[in-house]
């Protein structure tokens, strides 16, 4: 029998450090967005504020529904998410050659973002229902690969290589903590290597290949290498304490495309310097560690998988986003959690943190 908490118990067991960590990152993101849209589009800021508001409400709502109830509907949610991905391919809004969004009048909705959480739920449900004491082999991976493969292919077809790659990394993170045998892990790595060549040849678009090549050798395509170089200039010029709030114009003056979505960290680094970067990186580290801590204390496989997944969403997105801004990874259009502009991205991260909170609240429940 499932026990539904009383509100008093819920508040009493609330993980306030997680809430505080979340609010700190959200606050840093809003401060940064305000600096980025200065003189330009306050409407963007207002929209972001409303997404944050909605996200926080969802955070608390999701935290209060027992996650075991959510687990029951994991496959239904997965089916719904997959259908949305098909629908967006057929009827989504075409922006810059990609069909990733549903046009909701004043705003857009990107189903692939939400799919990250849904994939975690479905994986958690599957792992939970099929405990393997002696460790998982490649044979045990068949179903999880199907679970992640369908959304991966649908997202890659949009094309949105960044998000597809994120889904794959989240999957790997969850699976690594799921008692994969070492031999199986090596097998997976070999498979990934084998798949690399055909993916490079047939899946990647020209612009994606040129980004990777420009990353390896900027002289090959100065136009493509220009964006990351500008971002790096901005980061470096922030020096130790930064140029100050609203004083960093390096990025804004150059009118980089996707400034609010892909390069907000460059703005942050320019205005707040190395110290500011450490603060932001520290806040992320705290949130991720907190999620992993909850995962290790979870009372069941589902709860652990969901928390590891939520931590993986943040970890990989932060790594890839900051990596590309600092010139250590190629530009692939991945958002910075809770900082980048965009409703779908904000909601995804807050929903996943709501799930972590849910598991955290119930870790002593049974």
């Amino acid at each position: 029998m499932l026990k539904v908490f009383s509100w008093r118990k819920l508040v009493f067991r609330f993980d306030w450090t997680l809430v505080l960590g979340t609010l700190v990152v959200v606050f840093l993101g809003l401060v940064n967005l305000w600096g980025s849209v200065k003189d330009q589009q306050y409407l963007l800021f207002a929209r972001q504020l409303s997404w944050v508001g909605l996200g926080l409400v969802l955070f608390f709502v999701i935290a209060s529904i027992d996650y075991r109830i959510i687990a029951r509907y994991a496959y239904v949610l997965y089916g719904g998410g997959a259908l949305l991905l098909v629908a967006v391919l057929l009827a989504g809004k075409m922006v810059a050659g990609a069909r990733r969004w549903f046009d909701l009048g004043p705003s857009h909705f990107q189903p692939s973002e939400i799919m990250k959480v849904v994939v975690i739920l479905a994986l958690g449900k599957y792992l939970n229902d099929t405990p393997v004491l002696e460790g998982r082999t490649l044979r045990h991976l068949a179903m999880p690969v199907v679970i992640v493969g369908v959304p991966f292919l649908l997202i890659a077809a949009q094309p949105d290589l960044g998000t597809a790659m994120m889904v794959a990394l989240i999957f790997l993170s969850v699976m690594i903590t799921a008692r994969l045998r070492v031999k199986t892990m090596l097998g997976l790595a070999a498979l990934a290597l084998l798949a690399a060549a055909p993916i490079w040849e047939y899946v990647l678009h020209d612009y994606q290949r040129s980004r990777v090549l420009a990353f390896i050798n900027p002289a090959l395509d100065p136009a493509t290498a220009w964006q990351p170089r500008q971002a790096m200039n901005a980061v470096g010029s922030g020096r130790f304490i930064g140029k100050g709030f609203l004083e960093g114009n390096q990025i804004r003056l150059r009118n980089l495309p996707a400034l609010w979505t892909d390069f907000p960290f460059a703005v942050w680094a320019e205005e707040w310097g190395f110290l500011g970067c450490l603060v932001m990186l520290g806040a992320y580290t705290f949130l991720i560690m907190r999620a992993l801590r909850v995962a290790s204390e979870a009372r069941d496989r589902f709860g652990a998988a969901v928390c590891v997944g939520a931590a993986a969403i943040m970890f990989w997105q932060v790594t890839v986003n900051i990596g590309m801004v600092t010139g250590v990874l190629p530009v692939v259009g991945v958002t910075l959690p809770l900082v980048s502009y965009g409703g779908s991205s904000i909601l995804t991260v807050l929903v996943s943190l709501g799930l972590v909170m849910n598991v955290s609240v119930r870790r002593y429940a049974y």
Partner: protein, 649 residues
């Protein structure tokens, strides 16, 4: 949820989660190290490259190519123009009033202070061009007294037509691209404020004339940054400087002197057109459409009043009558009718008709200008006897024969000059009349199908036939040139800005007409008679110095047509006067068509103009030959002969 059996997994999950945490710490540590390297170790270097510097882009405008006449004389060029620009937010009322004082003599209407503030209310920080093309004196006065108070003088390139209204329709004019056009032409490099050809050659040859703009990006360093530390290449995507490419020059076939003499010959007419073609090449030497306009005014900032005057003028000065309007050819068409009769074996030169001033067809009388008595074909052309051609018009199938020959002469299709929306004109056929009847009957308008009267009217150049003066000049050039119909040409060659010939356009034959030489010889003889035989309709316009050949035409004007109501009533009722021909008749050099709108009789009004053109043209040729002879064979002067170094052979 069933949890039994899986708790055994949890310790292993905890262990692996800790490993994942370790990975997070390692990766984030790596990122922090990278940030430390960029921001702390290399921070100063990055700061120097970027330190609050502002990148400015200076557009390097392209100089528009010139239009020149065939002897290289400039017909359209570019000159600097001084515009007064103000920044409204920095401009005080007292300065503005002072500025108005300085610009008191300026042509443009300038708003008072209140109107000005209203106009700029929403863009106070953006520079506003208040007056264009101010004089040098005004410019220097402003620069010395008002420059520091929000007023500046900007230099811009302005299109200049040194001969004012001369050949205005043919050359065309420019004006600014609209906001809508900027959106559609952005790819081609047009930006707000750019000029674009609107009519004439300026429009048609825009891609050649405009050149390509360039740009230069530069850094304005601030806060004491040493410019030597800044590499513009680090801040800018792509090239930092691209030089502008000047437009190409177009050398026209127009001869400035001929153009001037034709303009003078037409100066007394209120609405008229004339086209002069070189018989040996089909090149256009002059094209005049009256009334005209000054493209310098059209290319500037046109005041509402001036625009109103131009657009509402019932004589339509912006309309190019040489190409964009079509008219009944009147009797100038009779050469085609005569040619049809001879070529198709319908009549011989011996066939005669008695002209009693009209022919009766059914209940309708078709009139002639007078009773010509008995006339043969030669006399009929010479005296422009309608009755003779009415008789021709009664032959079965004549409509289609006329249409075939007229089309072969290039009527009913655009001549190919391609400027100013050149009209094709129209050549009717029996089939067309029948189809028109069907269409009109469908609208219950009444029977209008092909009737014999249509053929009669067509044979004398009335009815549905429509031509442009350019087409008629080419028809007569073909008659003069033994049946060679040229593709008319107005661009002779394209030259680069540094004078290199990029492309030359040799004369091109459109077709060799399938007319027997004897027919053309006979027609030419008749056309000489029109002007030089005492019975000829243009006899009064004959020239004692040049043997002119041609045909008069008096095209009837429908009373209910078009703008008749706007024109002076007496004027509007007059017929259009035509004369088309060539000169000198014995060795033709030029062919021409002159049309005087509502001028009356062709022989009285258009023929004297044509004769004058022919005379002055031959004078010009003689002058030039004389000058060339003098230049190539200079006679030794007395001084030269007496000079110490002079050697007399």
């Amino acid at each position: 949820m069933e949890i039994a059996g899986q708790n055994a997994e949890l310790p292993e999950i905890r262990r692996r989660t800790r490993l994942f945490a370790l990975l997070v710490l390692l990766v984030f540590g790596g990122l922090a190290a990278r940030l430390f390297y960029l921001q702390v170790l290399e921070g100063d270097a990055f700061y120097r490259v970027t330190a609050d510097s502002v990148i400015r882009t200076e557009v390097l405008p392209a100089v528009r190519g010139e239009l020149r006449d065939r002897r290289g004389r400039v017909l359209a060029t570019t000159r600097p123009s001084y515009n007064v620009q103000v920044v409204p937010s920095r401009l005080e009322e007292v300065t503005y009033r002072q500025l108005l004082g300085y610009l008191a003599d300026h042509d443009e209407e300038l708003p008072d202070w209140e109107t000005f503030r209203e106009r700029v209310a929403e863009r106070l920080d953006r520079p506003f061009v208040l007056a264009t093309d101010v004089s040098r004196e005004t410019m220097s006065q402003l620069e010395t007294s008002l420059e520091s108070r929000g007023v500046s003088v900007m230099t811009e390139a302005r299109r200049h037509y040194p001969h004012g209204p001369l050949a205005a329709h043919t050359l065309g004019y420019l004006n600014e691209v609209s906001a809508e056009e900027v959106r559609t032409l952005k790819e081609e490099g047009y930006r707000p404020g750019d000029l674009v050809g609107r009519t004439g050659i300026e429009k048609q040859w825009e891609p050649y004339l405009r050149g390509r703009k360039g740009f230069r990006k530069y850094v304005v360093p601030r806060r004491g940054v040493d410019p030597a530390d800044i590499r513009i290449e680090d801040l800018v995507e792509g090239p930092t400087q691209v030089d502008s490419v000047p437009g190409e020059h177009l050398v026209l076939t127009i001869d400035l002197d001929v153009q001037k003499l034709v303009e003078r010959a037409l100066a007394a007419q209120r609405a008229a057109a004339a086209v002069v073609v070189e018989v040996d090449t089909g090149r256009i030497l002059a094209m005049v459409s009256r009334p005209g306009f000054d493209p310098n005014v059209m290319s500037g900032r046109l005041s509402a009043e001036a625009a109103g005057r131009l657009f509402n003028d019932p004589f339509r000065p912006l309309r190019d009558r040489t190409l964009s309007d079509t008219f009944n050819p009147g009797s100038t068409f009779k050469v085609i009718s005569a040619l049809t009769a001879l070529e198709d074996g319908i009549l011989t030169t011996e066939d005669r008709t008695k002209c009693n001033r009209f022919v009766q067809v059914g209940r309708r009388r078709f009139h002639c200008t007078k009773a010509h008595s008995v006339v043969n074909l030669m006399q009929a052309v010479l005296q422009s006897c309608n009755v003779y051609f009415y008789e021709l018009g009664m032959h079965p199938g004549i409509m289609d024969r006329l249409a075939r020959h007229a089309t072969e002469f290039g009527l009913g299709v655009p001549s190919g000059l391609g400027i100013n929306g050149e009209q094709a004109g129209f050549v009717p056929s029996e089939q067309w009349h029948r189809e028109r009847e069907a269409a009109l009957n469908a609208q219950a308008v009444g029977p209008q199908g092909f009737m014999i009267g249509h053929a009669l009217n067509t044979a004398i150049g009335e009815g549905a036939t429509r031509v442009t003066p350019t087409q008629m000049a080419l028809v007569y050039a073909a008659i003069a040139k033994d049946g060679t119909l040229w593709l008319p040409q107005i661009i002779e060659r394209i030259e680069s800005a540094d004078g290199k010939v990029l492309e030359e356009f040799p004369p091109r034959v459109r077709r060799q007409l399938t007319v027997r030489p004897e027919t053309l010889a006979l027609l030419r003889k008749a056309l000489v008679g029109v002007v030089n035989d005492p019975k000829g309709t243009a006899y009064r316009a004959r020239s004692p110095r040049v043997l002119v050949a041609g045909k008069t035409g008096t095209a009837q004007v429908g009373t209910s047509r078009g703008r008749a109501g706007e024109l002076p009533p007496l004027y509007a009722r007059l017929d259009h006067a035509w004369f088309a021909g060539f000169a000198p008749a014995d060795a033709p050099k030029i062919a021409f068509a002159v049309l005087v709108e509502h001028g009356g009789h062709g022989g009285d009004v258009a023929a004297p103009v044509a004769s004058q053109i022919a005379e002055r043209y031959m004078d010009l040729v003689a002058e030039r030959e004389h000058a060339e002879t003098a230049a190539s064979d200079p006679k030794p002067s007395l001084v030269g002969r007496a000079g110490p170094s002079a050697k007399v052979p």
